[in-house]
């Protein structure tokens, strides 16, 4: 056997073994992921459905002055660090205290991405990285965001943050990256896993306030749909006609 034939034989054997190994490595995590999914969870390859529209109801009358449990929970859940630079630190949810100009009535409330049906951030994004899932959740695709910040110019709620620095110690379910824009994901990883809640709503409930309710706006029997039917609520900047997924009560 010539030297060349020997090399070809080794090459074939090596490629064959490498192919088997690659297939094995690729299959293991997939099967383990499928096995660990909960009964209500959406499979990873299952697309979001327009049969649902995830939304949030904030009851400002129940939101406690001085409490920022929702903010802390969001920061913990998504690994948002306070770097002591408030002008550039990412804030996905914030507490705002407002006073009625005419009556002097004071309200305090959490403010975050309003998950608009016709989201200005989605319209202006040049690459389509800013996108709205079929179930109404507005997200940023971190693989195609080029960091132009046009979405931040367009958002009427100042809901988005730009990652101004190198990030370390990220949480695995929420990959982030320097130079990309980000905002509230409505805890999409929890909703997809079947939790039916977000970190902020759980924290608010744990404090006993229950000011934040998450649910499916298209399910007439969901708690959020019943509450929205029962009491008057409002959208922020309703004049823009964006049909927000986040509604406020008691304002």
């Amino acid at each position: 056997m010539s030297v060349e034939a020997n090399i070809n034989q080794y090459r074939r054997r090596f490629l064959g073994q490498a192919g088997v190994a690659t297939a094995a490595v690729a299959t293991v995590p997939l099967t383990s992921l499928l096995a660990s999914g909960s009964a209500q969870a959406k499979a990873l390859d299952e697309p979001a459905s327009s049969d649902n529209r995830w939304g949030m109801l904030v009851d400002a009358s129940k939101c406690a002055d001085g409490c920022k449990a929702c903010v802390d929970a969001c920061n913990d859940e998504h690994g948002l660090e306070d770097l002591g630079r408030p002008e550039t630190d990412a804030q996905w949810i914030r507490k705002v205290t407002i006073k009625d100009k005419a009556t002097g009535h004071i309200d305090t409330l959490p403010l975050m991405c309003q998950h608009c049906e016709t989201a200005p951030c989605v319209d202006v994004c040049p690459t389509g990285a800013s996108m709205r899932r079929a179930d109404g959740i507005v997200l940023v695709d971190r693989h195609t965001c080029i960091g132009c910040r046009y979405c931040m110019m367009a958002c009427p709620y100042k809901a988005r943050s730009f990652v101004h620095e190198v990030l370390e110690n990220q949480v695995t379910h929420q990959p982030r990256g320097k130079g990309c824009v980000e905002s509230c994901t409505l805890c999409v990883h929890k909703l997809d896993a079947g939790d039916g809640s977000t970190a902020c709503s759980e924290a608010c409930a744990a404090e006993g306030h229950h000011a934040i309710i998450i649910g499916d706006l298209k399910d007439p029997n969901s708690d959020i749909s019943r509450q929205l039917r029962a009491s008057p609520t409002r959208q922020l900047r309703a004049d823009l006609g964006l049909n927000t997924g986040v509604r406020y009560k008691g304002l």
Binding site: V96, G128, V181, L240
Partner: protein
């Protein structure tokens, strides 16, 4: 019988040219270094924040891109509107248009959070986004103007000159409409959200582009010892006067129409009365330095005939133009978003309801100036190797070519 215009590249060894290039390359390297510093550390080292998301790089980039389309006007007057006198000026006009656009785009690209993802910007399009349209408009502009230059330089292509010039003219109007619409369509911010932004950007481009063109023409002819007569220069400076006046008109219309609606009184008060640096830049920059003073100079019976003063008027138009773009881009962001129009925000951790603060950082300014240097270097190198500049624009030559 009109005589043929002779064009000549910058021939022979020229220490002046190499000194100019060395200077420009040094400035470009500083700009590249600044971009690397910002990308390596992240944007927290700049003056830009989550409140003021577009800063000094965008002021430079938008100014250069707006001026780019305006720089093409001289060529359009020649090819599209058939004014013979402008024929010898057309090649430099088209070259300057491409050069300014390249400089502006470079600044815009290097300020992205992820400039390494340029290929994504070129391959993923959201056609509802004005930014995406602009990517196509900008690349198309470079291509069409390059073809236009070819039709001007290649004798066999002359028959297509008018067609290419017309296509470039229409394309440049679309391009500036697109640039103005970046702001005009932002309904969320009260400083923008006005359809007048698109035509206002077009008229600003006429003015800024022509000012840069006149300065480039004077400098290149001076440095290469080519005669430049009064006939051309005085015609161009009078045209500049018309454009400057038109910009003032649009600025007045923009603010007066805004003042008609009560909901815009607060933002107008911010820009016109108590907005600090933005109010100062509006009145001192846009109105005085960029408007009234250059108008006074170009129409002054003696100053308007002085080359030095015409140059100063052009520089004032450019300085005023930068101030105008600064007030639009930064001032429009600094004014707080009306998230709760009927409420007063008394507490927020995210600077809601307060005027955003912004101080341009050195790297941002260096990147912007680097873009200007790129534009200048493109013009210098192109004029060195290709016949862009006429041998003479003396009054006798111009008279002979027009008659």
């Amino acid at each position: 019988m009109a005589t043929q215009t002779h064009y000549r590249s910058l021939m022979g060894p020229s220490p002046g040219f190499y000194k100019l290039m060395a200077g420009l390359i040094a400035v470009i390297m500083l700009g590249m270094g600044a971009a690397y510093y910002m990308e390596h550390n992240g944007h927290w080292v700049t003056g830009m924040t989550n409140q003021i998301v577009w800063g000094m790089p965008h002021v430079f980039a938008i100014f250069l891109i707006v001026a780019a389309s305006g720089a093409l006007n001289v060529a359009s007057i020649s090819s599209v509107f058939g004014r013979k006198m402008y024929d010898p000026l057309a090649r430099l006009s088209a070259l300057l248009a491409i050069a300014l656009l390249i400089g502006g785009l470079m600044v815009l690209l290097l300020d992205l959070g992820r400039p390494d993802r340029l290929i994504i910007a070129m391959t993923y399009y959201n056609f509802k986004s004005i930014f995406a349209w602009n990517i196509i408009l900008y690349s198309g502009f470079v291509g069409i103007v390059a073809v236009y230059i070819w039709t001007m330089m290649e004798h066999k292509m002359h028959v297509f000159k008018k067609a290419a010039g017309t296509a470039a003219f229409i394309w440049r109007l679309m391009l500036t409409t697109g640039t103005g619409s970046i702001f005009g369509f932002l309904v969320a911010r009260q400083g923008y959200d006005a359809a007048i932004m698109a035509p206002m950007f077009i008229i600003m481009s006429f003015s800024f582009g022509l000012a840069i063109y006149i300065l480039t023409l004077m400098a290149s002819f001076n440095w290469t010892d080519r005669p430049l007569g009064d006939a051309v220069l005085l015609r161009l400076k009078s045209l500049l006067g018309v454009f400057v006046a038109a910009v003032l008109y649009f600025v007045i219309v923009q603010h007066v129409t805004n003042l008609y609606a009560t909901e815009h009184h607060a933002v107008e008060r911010f820009i016109l009365v108590d907005g600090g640096i933005y109010t100062f830049l509006f009145w001192a920059g846009t109105i005085l330095v960029g408007g009234l003073l250059p108008l006074a100079v170009v129409y002054h019976p003696t100053l308007g005939k002085s080359r030095q003063w015409i140059g100063i008027a052009c520089a004032m138009v450019i300085a005023g133009g930068m101030a105008t773009i600064y007030v639009i881009v930064i001032g429009g962001q600094a004014f707080p978003l009306p998230i709760f129009p009927d409420k007063e925000i008394i507490e927020s951790s995210f600077f809601d309801g307060v005027v955003g603060s912004y101080t341009p950082s050195l790297p941002e300014i260096l990147l912007g100036i680097g873009g200007v240097a790129v534009s200048a270097a493109v013009v210098a190198v192109a004029a060195k190797v290709l016949p862009f500049l006429p041998e003479s624009l003396s009054d006798e030559v111009v008279d002979a070519s027009v008659s």
